[in-house]
């Protein structure tokens, strides 16, 4: 379980308007939460806090009952630009987290191989990131994250740079990973369709300081032909309305 309790956070230390002023949130194990909101509303900051890369000025963040003050080994974080290193090949990028954690070589190679197969990037494993397509890069980032065998996967607009078809393919992949790997997933996006396609719960964030404008339960996630169902469009419209309402306030 993830608990965010009364967090206070500023953009920079010197500024006096907070991004968060008493922000709270609870996420259950195994949920797939999608956070949506206009740019600059503090979506990414939330992920940075959960990842332990930022520490709140006041309040606390608990994961499985433990306060988070630095990155936690069971959390994997995929940043907007994927965070791949251009001087490492695909294999080396996938294995970077394992190397940093001092996993023995044999185990490392086994896990790299497993994820490379899993993400279907075997044929490009000796290439450098600049030789890959956007979708392939995203798969490498996912492989790297999953090689750490996380129980919490944080993703900051991971698909925003992809073309429409690749994006849909990757959304399917994300869904598959979440169902198979028994993990809690928190994804930030500004695509309404993506939110409804991937989130069992959708949080609409907005305002200054940021608060949850609305919460939509979306239990049909993963059901067959969900994307083309009437329910899907209905949910999209609910979220659109919530977002527009938030805009009106600002």
């Amino acid at each position: 379980m993830i608990q965010v309790r009364d967090c206070v956070m500023y953009y920079t230390e010197s500024e006096d308007t907070p991004i968060y002023d008493g922000f709270s949130l609870t996420i259950e194990r195994g949920e797939s939460v999608v956070v949506i909101g206009s740019s600059g509303c503090g979506k990414s900051t939330l992920l940075f806090l959960l990842a332990g890369l930022l520490v709140p000025v006041a309040g606390e963040i608990l994961i499985e009952g433990r306060p988070i003050t630095k990155p936690r080994p069971q959390t994997a974080f995929i940043l907007q630009e994927y965070g791949l290193f251009p001087w490492l090949t695909v294999e080396e990028n996938v294995g970077l987290g394992l190397r940093v954690r001092g996993i023995p070589r044999a185990e490392r190679l086994r896990r790299i191989e497993e994820q490379i197969r899993n993400m279907d990037i075997a044929e490009v494993k000796r290439r450098y990131p600049f030789q890959l397509s956007g979708g392939q890069r995203q798969r490498v980032a996912l492989a790297r994250a999953l090689s750490l065998q996380p129980d919490l996967l944080l993703m900051d607009e991971p698909l925003s740079a992809l073309d429409a078809l690749t994006r849909e393919r990757m959304q399917k992949l994300l869904l598959r990973i979440w169902r198979k790997a028994d993990l809690t997933s928190i994804l930030v996006t500004h695509s309404i369709e993506e939110a409804v396609y991937l989130g069992t719960r959708i949080l609409v964030l907005g305002g200054k300081p940021a608060c949850i404008l609305g919460e939509v339960e979306n239990p049909e996630v993963g059901s067959r032909h969900y994307r083309s169902s009437a329910r899907f469009y209905e949910r999209c419209n609910v979220i659109r309305a919530l977002l527009e309402g938030g805009d009106g306030d600002a």
């Binding site: 890369l53 990155p71 940043l79 965070g83 290193f85 001087w87 190397r99 940093v100 954690r101 450098y128």
Partner: protein, 256 residues
């Protein structure tokens, strides 16, 4: 396919070097014909002298000079790269050291020669110190700026994988500044050879700089140009060496 294009590129490279050498020799020939002065001999007679003196004494002088340049550059790298990385990444350190660097950077270090001679003596020490002092600045400043270009995203990404502070240096800062360090190395190579010539023109009887000055004072133009040719070759070979290093360590940068 890839190999073939690489081979072609290599052949093209060799060809353009040969062409450049031919142009230089032609201009030299024209110039020597035009000025018609004993101090500017035609290329052929300079080349003959080079071959004649190659084994003795040019080989020895070349070796001494090479050793001085390489030793100095190694020292500069060992000081400049780590210090530059720390300055680029640790803001408090930078706040203290940056003004020091910027205030002393523009001062021509050669003016400290009397002091350097006083403290390092007339031997190798003073020459190596002078060259490395100058090269260290170039490498340090480049490294620092390269580290500053590292994006916060990259740092966050590595930290989220669980990297410690020192691992950030090892896995991110060092590899990402390496291409810039090699560029700086190439630039300081040029400077180092220029300073080498100066450093070898006093208080020594060995090295190409000495050989050139000595030949000049004896008005032995052929010998002098033999020394100049060797110095040019030294530079070219060291430049190529940096190219090879780049090929080995910055492969990912050659896009396409």
């Amino acid at each position: 396919m890839l190999k073939q294009t690489r081979g072609k590129r290599w052949a093209k490279n060799v060809f353009s070097y040969l062409l450049a050498a031919a142009v230089i020799v032609a201009l030299w020939q024209l110039a020597s014909l035009a000025v018609h002065n004993a101090m500017l001999p035609p290329p052929l007679s300079a080349w003959k002298t080079t071959i004649r003196l190659l084994h003795d004494p040019l080989g020895m002088h070349l070796w001494i000079s090479t050793r001085r340049v390489l030793g100095s550059l190694l020292i500069s790298l060992l000081i400049g790269v780590p210090l530059g990385m720390v300055m680029g990444f640790e803001r408090p350190v930078d706040r203290v050291l940056a003004p020091l660097v910027y205030l002393t950077y523009p001062i021509p270090k050669i003016v400290f020669l009397p002091l350097i001679l006083l403290f390092f003596g007339l031997g190798e020490g003073s020459k190596v110190f002078l060259i490395s002092l100058i090269a260290t600045y170039q490498i340090l400043v480049t490294t620092r700026d390269a580290v500053r270009k590292v994006t916060p995203e990259a740092i966050h990404s590595l930290r989220s994988l669980g990297a410690s502070h020192t691992q950030i240096y090892r896995y991110l800062l060092f590899p990402s500044c390496l291409p810039d360090v090699l560029t700086a190395l190439r630039l300081s190579l040029g400077t180092a050879i220029a300073v080498l010539f100066f450093a070898e023109s006093f208080a020594t009887t060995r090295g190409l700089g000495y050989f050139i000055m000595d030949s000049w004072s004896r008005a032995a133009a052929d010998r002098m140009f033999a020394g100049i040719i060797m110095m040019g070759l030294l530079g070219v070979v060291l430049f190529w060496a940096v190219d090879v290093l780049e090929l080995l360590f910055a492969r990912w940068r050659r896009q396409g």
